[in-house]
Symmetry: C2
Subunit: 679 residues, 2 copies
């Protein structure tokens, strides 16, 4: 076994660069490693590629399974007929894994060592780590390094590289709502594959809400029978997913949202409700609805029973109780509850919820669990072992940290809002109020979680709503705080998006199929061209249109990614042009506008051909109008525009920027910049 | 329950047409039904779509499972959130399935009734059949009819239609080699999905050959241990696949190829060999190699034992023993075998093989099986229960039929030869010598099988080599003999190709991923454009280059479909232009040539960027040369060409038609036609 060579040896071989700031292009690693140096030259991956495992901790099944999966994935990435068999001897292997540490007990815990070192020298690859998680993270890095060789003979190569890597934050997750729309097990597993690929380590599974209770309870079977539309995970499936995730270095943190967001529970067990009556799972839009009665002992004995069952099913040490958005009116309107509050000296609904949380926390502590909840659960008399997940922002998070509570940030990472990768990438858990915390307070901010709420998302569109934007967030949580170059991020995100397809993620292929569907029997090319310049409306705008469980999400807006790469590139080019109008830049802008205008014309027969596409005609009109204005603005860059043209143009842009069919035209602001830049 | 309405009722509602000849466009049914009439108007498919099952035979699990799968697939095709639950009452369902017959015992048998009637009226769909197979076939037809509605509100519709359908031939299959390259179970299941979707009913599983024995034998475990590279199906997997196929109306006919093509057996049990020695599975190209010794009783007791085990594993009444391409030298070179032949009055190797076959036939008959073999097994003293599969052609097949043997045609349907759909579509089992047979002889020709030999095909490329061409062959086997319009076939094949994607077939998506891989980190668009005008070389040309089990099939030629749609369309346009040179047709040809030439220029930076793509530079050169010549030929349509131009052009076309990187440029012959049409 070769000892880990020091940094300078590789650089002595010809060090191209070694820096924390990633270059724009290769290698397209995401998240960017903590330390990397790339030398000259490559190591060739041949059909004899193999992996050997050594070291005191090499016996962990996660290492062996991870290595075998890496060979399978490498075969898929390269088309090489590789044998998925590990070598018994390090000397025979192209990649030697060395696991230094011995004990890595189940379950995976917050803070388990994820660091690794990857050394690619001309004749050997060495991946060393203290524990199995480091190996899994390092294997992902290795796979991202593989690309076609530059020179003969034909094949695949990895650059000579030395990487020393570890995460910035120990809690890096995705909160996934499966209540509003159910996601079958294969979708959950695909998502876990994706999380592991970009080095995220928590799937926070939002398993219950007003729209459905999604886990089989053997103790309270009405929860899934009456509290869902028949779509839920059996306990066997849950155990399968938990094992699947553990194998990939991902913790599963379940959330059972109480005492609000619990209509599905009340549909099954109306005695839990604050307000007497019958309840049904919520089929229409979401928002605060019924709440459990925190004044009755029967509520607690029910929750004790259920949590006793569920804490056994989910081995993670954290257990999420939600606790968000409780409608105070559900309590304040009930005389019996008001009387209870008075007799217990609980000033308001907030105090009553704190009382409820304290009782739950004791139950969970008894089951060996640490309680997690959204901002609302924060009250000073809960023990410091609980954790706060903040949907409110860094101010709320910093406030918790100052009081001694650990926390994670989710505000700014809501993927359902259809914001850009750049917007999410700019959000850092340690900025704002959190930047001013003392070091020991900052240390309580453990990381963050992206969140995907599923009101408008189905199993079909899930991948496209998660990826690739989630990879940019993953980089924010893993990479050094200084890794902030947006152009580099987008360049690497593009490669990462393609690389993720080898894992079986469907963010591109499913949208292609959806556009095929919209095109009916006609060629889809014109629709693809048209779609490439559009984006879905942002924030909660689309939720203002009525929707529900039976709403089909099969329109054009559902069949496009959240971000238009073409519009983004145009925006960059317009900014450059406006800053320095000379040279060839105007010609490139004209060409793009002409191409978009042409696409908006050529798609019209398709839009007219069927009922699903007809709603997009006003969008095509607006695209044509915007392209015409953009061309005029470029005309008037040198010569003065006719009187009143500028105002007419700005009015027309405003008009063309109205949203139709839940779509927006993201290059409209760039056209406006062009108009504003005319004389 | 509504009675099946007679044909004229629908026509009374407004019959658009009723004919056996399919129109060019809609509905894009493939295979084309025996009888169809399409009325005016449509039935809308809503989120309340459901299926009910009735009739004496409605209890068959295949019907229930097929109906549930149809709802799932409809949900995927439309994006509608459909509930996968069957209705108890016909009155509550949108689609009523009526299964008339009662008894449909397992296993599925050759000739089981597959006919069905599908009536789509304005308020209800009725699918009636005598048995479960008819229901499965009819559900596929129904799913192919679904497309976006023309008018408001947005949604999906099926045309008002009446179909009475049944197959022309009872044996409609695919012979799939899994020895040369192993295809994992998921690939086999995906293939079965595809077969069922285009109404094929036999998967002939070529499970052993020189390169590998692919089934677990518990009796002779060395067969899979030493006779394969570790890749084989366990018996549990075989049983799973057989059940999966049965559920979809597909029979599994296993083939164990003996006494030739059996090197993998000899590697495991060298005592079976005619020539003493040690054997290894064949890693390099295929061709006649070792053969079993048909003179020793131990050979027969081994085969008795194995077939006894395998006939229990595969319930179909047919069992394929291969029997093709035995190398006579393996026997003639052995004095002991020559002595046996002499003492048994066996004139030559052919007679010895007949002796071998007779003994095997008795063994199989004892196990309740009918023996199938390739042309070579045909000898007059075998019983008429055996079946001949002809790789030699209709002459050989007709010869067998005349002697009283049933047979199926495979010659002309070899998908590994990369021929066009049109070429396969033109082959009919009842043409050539078979056309002149008496009716009772013709009745012995039971159908045909496409064949996929896997020397150059992997699990990654399998779907692209099978689909969509196999759908055209399926139509040949199912539809009336008069269904021969090639333009209609291609129009419907294009829709079918897209429709098959909803099943999860990967013929397009996998090739896209492969081209992404070739492009490395660079945008793949230029490569896609370049690839769209190319085709792989045909026949066995590519096999002349050495290859083997460790050869990667990850070049551009592996990443393109067997047929270029663009080149085919160009060929049609050139033929029209040459027949009648006036009008706008020249402009369209010029535009296509200019686009191809541009693509050949724009792909060059990509071709230069990595080692896997570099081999395609001469192809880009040739494309540019051909496009230039084509433009010149159009120039000289009106004015006389310079002296010697025509000959120089023809020489240049010949030069540009040389094959590089196993690719050909399929529009070269069309350019030649343009040159030849100049004055």
């Amino acid at each position: 076994m070769t000892a880990l060579r020091p940094f300078f040896v590789l650089c002595a071989l010809g060090c191209l660069w070694a820096d924390q700031r990633p270059p724009i292009q290769q290698p397209a690693l995401m998240p960017w490693p903590a330390q990397i140096s790339v030398g000259e030259g490559t190591l060739r991956i041949g059909v004899d590629f193999s992996i050997a495992i050594a070291g005191a901790g090499g016996g962990d099944a996660r290492v062996k399974n991870g290595a075998e999966r890496a060979i399978e994935r490498l075969a898929r990435q390269t088309g090489l007929p590789l044998r998925v068999a590990l070598q018994p001897q390090p000397t025979e292997a192209a990649l030697n894994i060395v696991v230094e540490g011995r004990d890595h007990p189940a379950p995976q815990k917050l803070g388990d060592d994820e660091s690794y070192a990857l050394l690619i020298s001309p004749d050997r690859i060495r991946l060393s780590a203290d524990g199995p998680l480091g190996v899994l993270r390092g294997l992902e890095t290795f796979l991202q390094l593989v690309s076609p060789c530059a020179g003969d003979p034909p094949g695949f190569c990895v650059p000579l590289t030395e990487i020393h890597d570890q995460p910035r934050f120990p809690w890096r997750g995705l909160s996934l709502d499966v209540s509003r729309h159910f996601i079958p097990v294969d979708g959950i597993k695909r998502t876990i594959d994706g999380l592991a690929a970009v080095k995220l380590n928590v799937l926070h599974w939002h398993l219950s809400d007003d729209q459905g209770f999604r886990v089989e309870s053997k103790k309270y079977p009405k929860l899934q029978q009456l509290g869902s539309d028949g779509l839920y995970y059996t306990q066997a499936e849950i155990r399968d997913v938990v094992a699947y995730a553990r194998d990939r270095g991902v913790r599963i943190v379940p959330e059972f949202d109480v005492p609000g967001h619990s209509t599905s529970w009340l549909a099954a067990y109306p005695n839990l409700a604050s307000k007497p009556g019958t309840y049904q799972i919520e089929h229409e839009k979401s928002g605060p609805t019924g709440a459990m009665d925190p004044t009755r002992d029967s509520t607690y004995s029910f929750l004790d029973g259920l949590f006793g069952e569920m804490t056994k099913l989910f081995p993670d040490e954290y257990f999420h109780i939600g606790g968000d958005e409780v409608a105070a009116r559900e309590w304040n309107s009930q005389p019996k509850i008001r009387a209870f509050m008075k007799s217990h000296k609980l000033a308001d609904a907030k105090a009553l919820q704190a009382y409820f949380n304290k009782r739950l926390q004791k139950t969970l502590a008894h089951d060996g669990k640490k309680m997690v909840g959204w901002d609302e659960i924060l009250t000073p008399d809960l023990p410091k072992t609980i954790m706060i997940q903040s949907w409110r922002g860094t101010k709320s998070l910093a406030n918790a940290a100052r009081q001694g509570y650990p926390g994670i940030l989710s505000a700014g990472y809501y993927l359902d809002l259809m914001q850009s990768s750049a917007q999410h990438y700019a959000v850092d858990p340690l900025t704002g109020d959190a930047a001013n915390l003392a070091p020991e307070e900052q240390a309580r901010i453990l990381g963050g979680e992206a969140a995907m709420w599923e009101e408008l998302v189905t199993a079909e569109t899930l991948d496209a709503k998660l990826w690739p934007r989630l990879a940019a967030i993953a980089e924010r949580f893993w990479s050094p705080q200084s890794t902030t170059d947006v152009a580099s991020m987008y360049a690497r995100l593009d490669s990462t998006n393609r690389w993720l397809e080898w894992l079986g993620l469907t963010q591109r292929s499913n949208l292609e199929l959806m556009r095929e569907r919209l095109a009916g029997g006609m060629p889809v090319g014109p629709l693809d061209a048209f779609a490439s310049m559009l984006e879905p409306v942002k924030g909660y705008e689309r939720q203002r249109t009525p929707y529900g469980a039976s709403t089909p999400f099969n329109h054009l807006v559902d069949a496009i990614p959240p971000e238009s790469d073409a519009a983004r590139a145009f925006g960059v080019a317009v900014d450059a042009y406006v800053a320095s109008p000379g040279g060839d830049s105007a010609a490139a802008l004209r060409e793009q506008l002409a191409a978009w205008s042409k696409a908006a014309v050529e798609v019209r027969p398709l839009l007219a051909s069927n009922s699903l596409l007809a709603e997009n005609v006003p969008v095509a009109d607006a695209v044509e109008a915007l392209c015409k204005i953009g061309q005029e603005a470029l005309d008037y860059a040198d010569s003065a525009a006719p009187g009143g043209w500028k105002q007419r143009a700005l009015d027309a842009i405003k008009d063309a920027s109205k949203h139709n069919a839940a779509l927006l035209i993201p290059f409209a602001p760039s056209v406006q910049k062009l108009v504003e830049s005319t004389r």
